[in-house]
């Protein structure tokens, strides 16, 4: 078998295999909306672990972390820091959300907002903002997948063909199995990803430089200071890393799809218990970085697209089967998070936007049908956008993490602080989002501050928080909250 067809065969096995695994839980079984969307709220430790952990190894961890290391150096290390802190935040926050979900039948993040503030409008606003940030994220997974499969099949499958094929499969298994399908496939995806990144992450530096330490010594000798801050950049300095770590650790669980994932847990203890061990999983993120740093020294001439660093160095070092393996693992890294995003976006749209406006009287059974059909509609929209307007959503994507983090005061203080009010939440979120868009699209990110730089999302979050607390304190009336 030629190395091209070998690579192609391996990618096919991965993509088709995962689809079959994903379809199994939903076969021969009629699922209620609750079973489909939040797995019937009976995920024990292991399934909950993989659904929470699985979100970390996305297209970004695979291509982005190695690409950042290749192009930016030291600032990449922030990725090692935020996860453990995010789980510590989650240790307090998720066990507070999950029982509310069980008690009041909540399934999505806007459900939770609507419940806390008794405001349908605020729920709809949260849903609309959520969809605006999830859709570009979905498209990113699609575009990443197209790039990976095109490169790893040596161009035998074009980008568009790859996206069409893989995403119809994702849509099929989300349609049939819902969150259970996402969780079971996440198990396989994580195992494959870890084997791939650990193997290549250790093999490549050892192959070229004798050891990981030898590789870093060589980087330091070739580019002194590249491995500290601000590395290969001008503005990603100490202040940027510190503010970004605050932003990402608080914002991690503000992604709308994570709310659904926490509602799937059997008990609050499952969430607490997993928060203990999830940080250790973060260590694996160092391996794609090792690949990126090795590529920096080994690849000549330099790459135009840093995100290709991982695939380019594997292609240069190994025969075709290895590239097939990277392609297969990379395809899964895009497909499974995409499945979770697809499920959440369709729920936000059907339950929290349609169901609260035009379709107020929809029965729960037909809502289940609408949510499933929405999966197919959204897949089509994301595909069309990825094929015809690949750059249109880039602006939304740039603002993604900063954007969803603006939910933090509203959601977390809403649960833990008695005096939080509807008006405070409204003003805080709106001001936060306007600042995020204004600063980032106005090319003010990172924001210069006292000779250092701050992440624009962090600046917006601080102002959002101040506005939220001030207006809540002014409008809070003890008796009005009892209803």
């Amino acid at each position: 078998m030629s190395s091209e067809s070998m690579a192609l065969a391996i990618i096919f096995v991965f993509v088709i295999g995962i689809t079959i695994v994903g379809m199994v839980p939903g076969m021969n079984k009629k699922m209620s909306l609750e079973e489909w969307a939040v797995g019937g709220r009976n995920f024990g430790r292991w399934l909950n672990w993989f659904i929470l952990a699985g979100e970390i190894y996305t297209a970004f961890a695979f291509l982005g972390a190695s690409g950042w290391a290749y192009a930016r150096g030291g600032p990449t290390f922030y990725i090692l820091g935020y996860g453990a802190l995010a789980y510590l935040v989650g240790y307090y926050v998720l066990p507070a959300f999950a029982p509310l979900g069980r008690k009041y039948g909540l399934m999505t993040q806007p459900d939770l907002v609507e419940h806390i503030y008794k405001s349908r409008t605020l729920g709809i606003l949260t849903a609309v903002i959520g969809v605006a940030f999830l859709l570009p994220y979905l498209q990113l997974q699609l575009t990443g997948l197209g790039l990976i499969i095109e490169t790893c099949s040596y161009g035998q499958i074009s980008r568009v063909q790859a996206m069409l094929m893989a995403f119809s499969m994702v849509a099929v298994f989300v349609y049939t199995s819902g969150l259970k399908g996402v969780a079971t496939t996440a198990v396989i995806k994580d195992v494959v990803m870890i084997v791939a990144v650990v193997f290549f992450g250790l093999y490549l530096p050892i192959h070229y430089f004798g050891s990981v330490g030898g590789m870093f010594e060589a980087v330091e000798a070739a580019k002194p200071g590249f491995l500290a801050l601000p590395g290969g950049t001008k503005a990603l300095d100490v202040g940027w890393v510190m503010s970004t770590l605050v932003l990402t650790s608080l914002g991690f669980y503000m992604w709308p799809h994570f709310a659904a994932n926490s509602f799937s847990a059997k008990s609050a203890d499952v969430l607490r218990h997993n928060a203990v061990y999830l940080p250790l999983y973060q260590i694996c993120l160092v391996f794609p970085m090792l690949i990126g740093f090795t590529a920096l020294l080994v690849l000549v001439p330099a790459l135009k697209t840093p995100d290709m660093a991982f695939m380019a160095i594997v292609q240069q070092t190994f025969p075709g089967w290895a590239l097939g393996l990277v392609g297969g693992a990379g395809a899964l890294a895009c497909m499974i998070p995409a499945a979770d995003l697809l499920l959440s976006t369709s729920m936000l749209f059907s339950r929290n936007v349609y169901g609260k406006t035009i379709g107020k009287n929809t029965s729960s059974e037909s809502m289940g049908k609408i949510a499933r059909v929405m999966v197919l509609v959204l897949t089509t929209i994301a595909l069309l956008l990825a094929i015809y307007l690949p750059n249109m959503l880039v602006n939304l994507l740039l603002t993604g993490y900063s954007g969803v983090t603006q939910f933090f005061p509203m959601l977390v203080l809403g649960v833990f602080w008695k005096k939080a009010t509807k008006l405070g939440a409204f003003c805080g979120v709106l001001i936060g989002e306007i600042l995020v868009f204004g600063l980032i699209l106005g090319k003010m990110d990172p924001v210069p501050f006292l000779g250092q730089h701050l992440n624009a999302g962090f600046v917006a979050l601080v102002i959002n928080m101040v506005v939220f607390v001030a207006i809540s304190a002014m409008t809070y009336k003890p008796e009005s909250n009892k209803g």
């Binding site: 030291g74 290390f77 922030y78 090692l80 820091g81 996860g83 453990a84 802190l85 789980y87 510590l88 240790y91 307090y92 050891s211 990981v212 330490g213 030898g214 870093f216 010594e217 330091e220 002194p224 200071g225 491995l227 500290a228 801050l229 100490v238 890393v241 510190m242 770590l245 605050v246 203890d269 607490r272 218990h273 928060a275 203990v276 061990y277 940080p279 250790l280 973060q282 260590i283 160092v286 970085m289």
Partner: protein
């Protein structure tokens, strides 16, 4: 709130965020990693230990009540 829990919650944030200005350096290379990367990975273990202690305190309290 239990002061031990407050301290256990603060330590990982101080380690990973607060200490960045003091650990922003390449040398010494520890376990084959540049110092900044080593520090952040050590922070993962620190967070793990702190959350584990929090979990023990909380599950004990839950049994008592």
């Amino acid at each position: 709130m239990n002061p031990v829990k407050v301290i256990l919650t603060l330590i990982p944030f101080i380690w990973t965020i607060g200490m960045i200005p003091f650990v922003n350096r390449v040398k010494p290379i520890v376990f084959g990693l540049p110092f900044l990367a080593f520090w952040l990975i050590a922070g993962i273990f620190v967070a793990f230990i702190c959350i584990k202690c929090l979990y023990h305190i909380d599950s004990k309290n839950n049994q008592d009540s």
